[in-house]
Amino acid sequence: MPEALLRPFIRLGHSVVSGIWRLGFASRFLGAILMMSGATFRRPALLMREIYFSGVLSLIIILVSGLFVGMVLALHGYDTLSRYGSEEWLGVLVALSLTRELGPVLAGLLFASRAGSAITAEIGLMKATEQLSAMAMMAVNPVARVVAPRFWGGVIAMPLLAAMFSAMGVLGGYLVGVVQIGVDPGSFWSQMQSQVDVERDILAGVIKSVVFGFAVALIAVFEGYDSEATAEGVSRATTRTVVTSALVILGLDFILTAFLF
């Protein structure tokens, strides 16, 4: 009987302990990646390939999503602002929402599900099919050869994608607000320029996207490397990458917003 009562606590304790263990393992893993990154930057071909896979292949989804998010923001924003007769603030609303918040966060979420999951699946599959062991037996360190380039590829691609997302969003807002609804283009841009600050709003957004890039890239390579070497293990690791990335992005977003703004 007492054992049945204790079981939830045992389970809780177990998950806390294993969570802490994984956190420690992930930070040691990050240390190993950083130590072995020298080789990555000495071989640009490897890095190019990874920027291609996580950046270029995410381009379409990022550009299209950014455009639509900007258009929706303009529609909603116009609806609300026109009640107070301040339509000229539409540009400010669209630009601030995108550069401070939606650009980095949505681009990060899309990046995690498009590129992060692909990185996890690829590394997990290489582990399951013993490609990583084979590489290690050929005296080639898999962390240096496989993990580090994918990590840095993600870290480099993410801020660029977030910037493209925000830029496309502003264009989308312009299309709906100015071209379709007919807000004055002069006040759309000039209000935006007078209210959006390069350091406080745009740079802060870029900092956010860099942090998200690091987080998602680390989660993706770690989950792949740590996945169970079976087909089921790889699929579970892929799911975990997307879920963990989403939670970490939103959590970090809160912390960064509190510190940056």
Partner: protein, 156 residues
């Protein structure tokens, strides 16, 4: 996938990313035109600054000539001390009148500079003496309402 194809695409990708950052900085942000070059410092004391914030623009005849650097409180005179950076290209007479204005009914607050006729110019670090505080909307409204009430009461 050929090596050159990958390089080409990555090149396009990075160029697009940098173009986007440039677009955000120049077209969306205020990096262009309003840069304050080699600023010098001026001070002004106000009884009430309302909602004035650091980095708010300083305008003269509608042109941005500087920005508010920081705002202090003088606990001896119980006044706000606004320190602003003015572009070195612009200089103002000693008797320049500094006011706190609002752009539009609900817009941001800024400092307006109305130059007087003095021959002597304000030197870096000088304090402007003639100032007008921010208009506080609540005070204005309550004043208006009292006046109306007084008008309404008088004829009877």
């Amino acid at each position: 996938m050929k090596r050159t194809t990958i390089d080409l695409w990555v090149g396009i990708f990075v160029a697009l990313g940098i173009a986007s950052l440039f677009f955000l900085a120049v077209q969306v942000g205020n990096l262009r035109g309003t840069e304050i070059v080699e600023p010098y410092e001026l001070q002004a004391r106000f009884d009430n600054i309302g909602g004035l914030k650091p980095r708010a623009p300083v305008r003269s005849a509608g042109v941005v000539v500087g920005r508010v650097h920081h705002i202090d409180y003088d606990s001896e005179r119980f006044q706000a001390v606004v320190v602003m950076n003015i572009d070195h290209r612009y200089s103002f007479p000693k008797d320049t009148f500094a006011t706190i204005n609002t752009s539009g009914l609900l817009g941001e607050q800024y400092i307006g500079m109305e130059p007087g006729g003095d021959e002597a110019l304000l030197q870096p670090g000088d304090t402007m003496i003639k100032t007008q505080s921010a208009v506080v909307l609540e005070k204005l409204i309550s004043q208006f309402m009292f006046n109306k009430a007084a008008e309404g009461a008088a004829p009877k």
